[in-house]
Assembly symmetry: C2
Homo-oligomer: 115 residues x 2
């Protein structure tokens, strides 16, 4: 599969795919002429990247996670990082929930005035 199709099927830009490779997240093969050749599971991997990006993980962290996903190994460093990110995201959800509640208050107050 070439880069354009991966982009369409995964919903990201061609530029983003090249960026992911630059960051060590994808390592597609190459055609004789130098064009990137992606395996089938590339699309799923990209979707996973998007999820992690949305959760605030930088490329470097995602790259560090890859061995845990691909091979079934986990170093001490990775173990610590997994737990740290878990805690960070949990906390982030709490903060968002608080902010959401505050927004809801504003919305309800405004709704009363509009009624």
């Amino acid at each position: 599969m070439r880069i354009g199709e991966v982009a369409r099927r995964s919903g990201v830009s061609v530029r983003a795919l090249r960026y992911y490779e630059e960051q060590g997240l994808l390592t597609p093969g190459r055609s004789p002429g130098g064009h990137r050749e992606y395996a089938e599971d590339a699309v799923d991997r990209v979707r996973i990247f998007q999820q992690f990006y949305a959760a605030g993980l930088p490329s470097r962290r995602i790259a560090e996670l890859l061995p845990c996903i691909d091979t079934d190994t986990t170093t001490d460093h990775q173990w610590a990082m997994l737990n740290a990110e878990h805690a960070r995201i949990s906390q982030q959800i709490d903060q968002l929930t608080t902010a959401l509640a505050r927004l809801t208050e504003l919305i309800e107050a405004a709704a009363d005035r509009r009624a």
Copy 2:
């Protein structure tokens, strides 16, 4: 209250406070010599800003929200924005929850191997 104390009590940097003013979020008075003079409620306001920043609202949005907080008025534009941000944050929480679940899977798998 001067800027240093506001910074200490609210937990943000002096630079951040000046930045907030630049963005129209705070409008402290000035001493005869030009130093900023903050009212008591500035600390609370800054904490609110931090919450909204943590929720992904840019300064411009927060500035647009201020009239809803300070005075009890809401324009159509503000009403739409309030609801849009509410939806965005809800969606963001969903995404974080999904990512968190995926991380939890990785952690449990790793925990088994470590056991």
